[in-house]
Symmetry: C2
Subunit: 260 residues, 2 copies
């Protein structure tokens, strides 16, 4: 069997993104400058931040009037390892507005369920790296559709069939640190299902469904880096399974979730 190789390519040189920007064009321009030619089967991973910015999911904090609840949560945010939205009550207010449920609110952490069903800190509201000092980004309204639009546009511009993932860094219960995960997916299956298949010993692998889209997002983060301006990565050589299930397929149904 030949050695299996995958390449992770961080695409540098994108400008600061602002609402209305054509992300596909800016990405492909950067690829051209860096001599990265897109090929069939590439998976292009965009950070949520630039997709949100391009789509105008940006809120001026001076326009946000925090509720009493937001003030209270922000004040209690002291001492946690992940301060609640940087303890700014306006950011907490935004997180509450983006939430359809509060999952936990303790130890200076605000864990919510977003409109999409994602469970994450502060509803994915983010104040870092947004250009001006007093703005925050919210998650794209429909990240699977955003991914599909990017995929279509890349397809039109390059005539290549790619997969697209929109990623964000989420915390996890039980484990320290955040990891990059997929919040929007187009052109590839989110999950790789080994159930019913047979392993080397003829035993069926009954419980193995791998969240490959999350692994791809995590892999992409390794070439991104928060402090360098690398908001897009290309994963080349991954044997993607076509699919249209989207990142919504990664959201566990609340009825089957033991920790919601």
């Amino acid at each position: 069997m030949a050695t299996k190789r995958i390449e992770l390519i961080g695409v540098t040189g994108l400008p600061e993104i602002t609402p209305g920007d054509d992300l596909t064009r800016l990405f492909l321009d950067a690829c051209r400058r860096e001599n990265v030619s897109i090929v069939d089967g590439d998976v292009v991973v965009f950070t949520q931040k630039i997709v949100s910015k391009a789509e105008g999911c940006v809120v001026r904090l001076s326009d946000v009037e925090p509720s009493m609840l937001a003030h209270t949560i922000a004040e209690r945010g002291e001492g946690g390892s992940k301060p609640t939205c940087g303890k700014d009550p306006r950011l907490v207010e935004l997180a509450l507005r983006e939430a359809r449920r509060i999952v936990r609110m303790d130890h200076g952490v605000l864990i919510t369920e977003t409109r999409h069903g994602f469970v994450c800190a502060n509803s994915g509201v983010d104040a870092s790296n947004v250009g001006a000092d007093d703005v925050a980004t919210t998650l794209p309204r429909d990240p699977d559709s955003s991914a599909q639009r990017l995929r279509d546009a890349i397809g039109v511009a390059t005539e290549k069939r790619v997969g697209v993932i929109i990623s964000d860094t989420f915390g996890r219960p039980w484990r320290e640190g955040v990891v990059n995960v997929a919040i929007g997916i187009a052109g590839l299956s989110a999950l790789c299902d080994y159930r019913g298949r047979v392993d080397n010993d003829g035993r069926s692998l009954t419980s193995t469904v791998i969240a490959v889209a999350d692994e791809l997002a995590g892999a992409a983060e390794l070439v991104m880096g928060k402090l360098e301006r690398i908001p897009v990565a290309v994963v080349r050589g991954f044997d993607l399974v076509p699919g249209a299930d989207g990142a919504r397929a990664l959201v566990r149904d609340a009825a089957r979730d033991l920790f919601r």
Copy 2:
């Protein structure tokens, strides 16, 4: 800025591992056959399964007498998306013996806290791919030490300074599918701490600690594949931060954990 590239290399051609095998030698032999030369800074990711097998963390199921609790849990295992240890009461018994706490026991899922502090399904007990039909593997007793031994042995054999990760696939609350994570680490820091550093806009990134070892494990899984015999991968080009914190640094302290 130059384009950042990382390569993931799945190392094929390792034989079936049995207790007492010299994993380093078998890995390096396979590398030689596949023309993969280890270089300084490579991160070598071994699946838990082969490390457990080499270390003799293998239990014959015919030697396991299930307790009443194990029988009860196994019987209730019907209908869940992840059947409890394949509903074999002997596997459930092993999972209970490997646990220091039961975190959840519902919907056909048994989530435990292992001796190491990892929270995962069935204490990491695994019956697939173990050679004979009636054996199971348990997690290495001290996976950080196992990783250190592998790192030292690779260093002696190749004169290269590498990082080593021992990985296993764990489920997550809220999200479908399992992802590969780090359960043992040597020669690199588990976490990349951006706190206090300043982003493009001069805003400090207060809450960003990235679990790079988990992202590296996930990336490695993309070239492994459960059905092919690729139990080791090399991650090349990752700018690792030296560290000795081990995978134990990834275990969130129970007092600060909102979901334990």
